[in-house]
């Protein structure tokens, strides 16, 4: 069971990293508009073909 002394802190640190990443992405505006980007993603391909 002593593996918990290493595994648990690592797990919590990973969770912390995930939270920091999420907070950064929210503050960067990635979640402000959830409807336009999925439409925008299609455009580049079409343009290259033309």
């Amino acid at each position: 069971m002593s593996v918990l002394f290493i595994a648990l802190p690592i797990a919590l640190i990973l969770a912390g990293v995930a939270i920091v990443a999420f907070v950064c992405s929210v503050r960067g505006g990635q979640f402000d508009d959830l409807e336009t980007p999925p439409r925008r993603i299609l455009f580049d391909d079409v343009e290259k073909k033309g």
């Binding site: 069971m1 002593s2 508009d33 336009t36 925008r40 455009f43």
Partner: protein, 814 residues
């Protein structure tokens, strides 16, 4: 690059490219010689057009070109002149609606008309390719806005605006207001809180699982310590970061001495947090952090769902503000100059063209016209106005170019005051939520009394356990489920409503717009009549034209080939014109009489029957002979009669309150078999309120109304139900917004609201039952962390599943 002056499309160009100038197959502009591809049947003026054209064909949407040709002339008439946009280059405009940065970059946000699909987004975001000095154009699909950044020195904003308009997306300036920024910040804050609370809850549940399993398997003391400290750490993060919002809410509630659901929640959270921390440090006793984390997460989730609903309502109010135009033409030194509405002062003279919305409350100076005031009065027939008459902001100028002297501007206008009222009612919490808050207040009192009782009782029996028991009670009594119950039930009902299209559009009893209902006489003249009526914006003409257009939908060619000449409109309620050499007169009986045309016996009975049905007969005379009569009117909704009967059968007394002519209202009432004594016509908004209030003394009144003019009466009724008509956003005054066609929705709604109330009551009962059991267990000293951990999420889950399984709108529609 102009859409208006488009020449006819040439599909077979390949053979004679050299003889005729090649025309772009997409936009209709001339193709530069260097780009003409003699091997292809389609020519393009630029790569963008080629791409758009290919895209449209690949998607099988080539019908777009046929439709674009038809509608281009109509929808862009009068909008093409570059001069029209010059006003946006003034510093006052840019500082009002946008901002400039020090590095020479300007930034502005427009609301765009006509964004329909992903291709629209694509096209608009290609603006930097069309105009290289534009740095970026970002579309927000859900809000239908675009943010444009451009080099101030290299291009004028008017060019950008003009290009957007020519692309087919007519831009309206939007204030990049603090309110908008605030909404974004608030949304981000809520998301972060939710995510942190969710992560903490998930991790803490894992740790708790290990702890509980350890209870049965005799975990090593050191491992248990590690788990307890980890749980404590994660729990404190959850309480002190996202959970802060409840503590703040509770402090505010105490300060203002208003009961609030946050109070008992904060009490449970803080007592649990402190007790858990002390127990962690001492290494003995129960820690509650897993339950607390889950609690914070679930409550925030409920709150977030509620917040999303509020956002939608706020967007609707934003749309209300769009009812009046942002720009107008102001008379400056004998010339009309485009000016932002904010720079208009009392006394300014403004020009309003036909088909435009009047921007101010004022007095008509020059011009004879009719205005559509449906948004204010609910009157479906336009009012004819002459110089000296008053006009109101938000109403529609139908016929002529007019000059208006501004008397009240901006927030002083009647429409703005109504919007203000709606906003005010929007801010008030629903009665149910207020009720839940009051309960929250009592709840705190009861819980504290209980905790003190338990504490003193245990002090007498077993002093060492007393504090623990009281703390356990405080935590278990935290009304998590109670706080979740109401918002969830309401949100679920609203969500269901949206799914059943109860949030769309319609009128109430009648269609709400003039329509051609009947045509008696010679059918051959229909295309010619349509061609003449097309030139007029009079409601009767529009009704006949669109009615005939519908009939000829299959064979558009013959219909479109005809064109009317020498068309002139008369004050006496008629229009004359020439089609294929024949002289047509269309209009009322008085109009024909003025032109010495007698109505033959053949059409007298038909016309009388139409008048009896409260329809207006429009006569068609060719070369001095009446050949047909068309009936125009506001037709009853097909389902109106059935719904009224169903309402009457279930015990409701049905009446009509209308601003229309009393005779028309009586006629409609008779058709619907409504008691003539309860058909009130010619009412002002104030009269409607009076009648509703009088009826409300006798019992429950449900008012179904369709617009801004009804909003006061809707608010006065026990239940106000707004249906859609014209002013899309004007409906928030009513607690319920019904969008399904006609009254059938009302029946469904009555059922639905009953079952929603049942769901809310069931939620309350379930959560209270859980709390009582929990308090009982805690008081008896039987609660341990495992029981608490199971009981608390279980109560929340019960509430959630009860809400979701409510069959709010499950009734089959007739």
């Amino acid at each position: 690059m102009s859409v208006i002056t488009k020449p006819p499309r040439q599909l077979e160009i390949a053979d004679d490219v050299s003889n005729q100038p090649a025309v772009c197959a997409h936009c209709g502009l001339a193709v530069p010689d260097s780009l003409v591809d003699s091997g292809s049947s389609d020519q393009f003026c630029c790569q963008g057009c080629r791409t758009a054209y290919q895209l449209i064909y690949e998607c099988g949407l080539q019908a777009f070109y046929a439709m674009a040709e038809q509608s281009a002339a109509a929808s862009f008439a009068g909008r093409d002149s570059a001069k029209r946009f010059e006003h946006v280059d003034t510093p006052s405009f840019i500082s009002t609606f946008g901002q400039t940065h020090e590095n020479g970059v300007g930034e502005i946000r427009f609301a765009l008309e006509g964004i329909h699909c992903a291709a629209c987004v694509w096209l608009i975001e290609k603006l930097p390719q069309i105009l290289p000095a534009v740095l970026e154009a970002r579309v927000n699909w859900s809000k239908r806005t675009v943010d444009v950044r451009w080099q101030l020195a290299d291009i004028k904003l008017s060019r950008v605006v003009q290009t957007l308009a020519e692309l087919g997306y007519y831009p309206h300036p939007l204030r990049a207001g603090a309110q908008h920024q605030q909404a974004i910040v608030e949304n981000r804050r809520q998301l972060i809180r939710l995510a942190v609370a969710g992560a903490a809850a998930g991790n803490n549940m894992l740790i708790a699982a290990a702890l509980y399993l350890g209870m049965f398997q005799h975990m090593a003391a050191s491992v248990e310590m590690l788990l307890r400290w980890s749980s404590c750490l994660v729990g404190l993060v959850s309480l002190l970061w996202p959970g802060q919002v409840f503590l703040r809410g509770a402090i505010a509630a105490i300060r203002t001495r208003t009961p609030h659901m946050d109070l008992p929640v904060a009490l449970g959270l803080s007592v649990g947090g402190v007790a858990g921390l002390l127990h962690t440090i001492s290494g003995r006793g129960e820690i509650y952090f897993d339950s607390l984390s889950v609690l914070v997460f679930l409550l925030l989730l409920g709150r977030w769902i509620q917040y999303r609903q509020q956002c939608r309502a706020a967007d609707a109010i934003e749309m209300l503000h769009q009812l009046t135009p942002h720009m107008t033409r102001k008379l400056v030194d004998g010339e009309f100059v485009e000016t932002p509405i904010d720079l208009i002062d009392q006394g300014d003279i403004l020009e309003v063209r036909a088909g435009e919305t009047i921007p101010v409350d004022g007095q008509l100076q020059v011009g004879d016209t009719s205005v559509d005031e449906a948004i204010l009065t609910g009157e479906s027939t336009p009012r004819i106005i002459r110089p000296g008459d008053a006009v109101s902001a938000g109403t529609l100028n139908l016929q002529d170019v007019i000059r208006v002297q501004a008397l009240a501007v901006g927030s002083a206008t009647r429409i703005a005051r109504i919007v203000g009222l709606v906003e005010q009612s929007q801010r008030q919490k629903p009665q149910l939520v207020q009720w839940a808050d009051r309960i929250g207040g009592y709840f705190v009192g009861i819980v504290i009394v209980l905790a003190v009782t338990v504490l003193s009782a245990w002090l007498l029996v077993e002093p060492s356990q007393a504090v623990d028991r009281a703390v356990a009670l405080l935590i278990v009594a935290c009304p998590c489920a109670l706080a979740l119950a109401t918002p969830l039930a309401i949100s679920v009902a609203l969500g269901r409503a949206a799914q059943r299209r109860i949030l769309d559009k319609t009128g109430t009893l009648t269609q709400g717009k003039m329509r051609m209902v009947d045509w008696i006489g010679d059918e051959r003249y229909k295309p010619a009549v349509a061609a003449i009526e097309q030139t007029s914006s009079h409601p009767a003409a529009v009704a006949i034209h669109s009615g005939l257009r519908g009939e000829f939908a299959g064979s558009k060619d013959s219909f479109l080939q005809l064109s009317a000449t020498d068309v002139s409109q008369s004050d006496a309620g008629g229009i004359r014109g020439c089609v294929a050499g024949e002289q047509f007169l269309l209009g009322s009986q008085t109009f024909l009489a003025k032109n010495q045309i007698a109505i033959t016996d053949r059409f007298h009975p038909a016309a009388k029957a139409m008048i009896d049905k409260s329809l207006t007969p429009i006569f068609v005379a060719v070369n001095g002979q009446v050949v047909a009569v068309a009936a125009v009117g506001d037709a009853l909704r097909p389902d109106a009669k059935k719904s009224v009967q169903a309402l009457q059968q279930s015990g409701w007394q049905v009446g009509i309150l209308s601003g229309d002519q009393p005779q028309i209202v009586k006629n409609i009432g008779a058709q619907l078999e409504i008691d003539p004594d309860r058909c009130w016509g010619g009412l002002l908004p104030e009269d409607k309120v009076a009648i509703v209030q009088r009826s409300a003394q006798a019992g429950t009144v449900v008012m179904v109304g369709d617009g801004v003019n009804d909003s006061a009466a809707l608010a006065a009724a026990t239940v106000g139900i707004a249906t859609h008509n014209g002013a899309e956003a004007s409906l928030q005054a009513a607690p319920v917004y019904l969008g399904q066609p006609g009254l059938a929705g009302v029946l469904e709604l009555i059922d639905a609201s009953r079952s929603t109330m049942r769901a809310i009551r069931r939620n309350f009962a379930a959560s209270l039952a859980y709390n009582i059991i929990g308090v009982g267990l805690a008081a008896a000293g039987w609660i341990n962390p495992l029981v608490a951990a199971v009981l608390m999420p279980l109560s929340s889950l019960t509430v959630v599943s009860l809400s979701l399984t409510t069959r709010t709108f499950s009734r089959k529609r007739p």
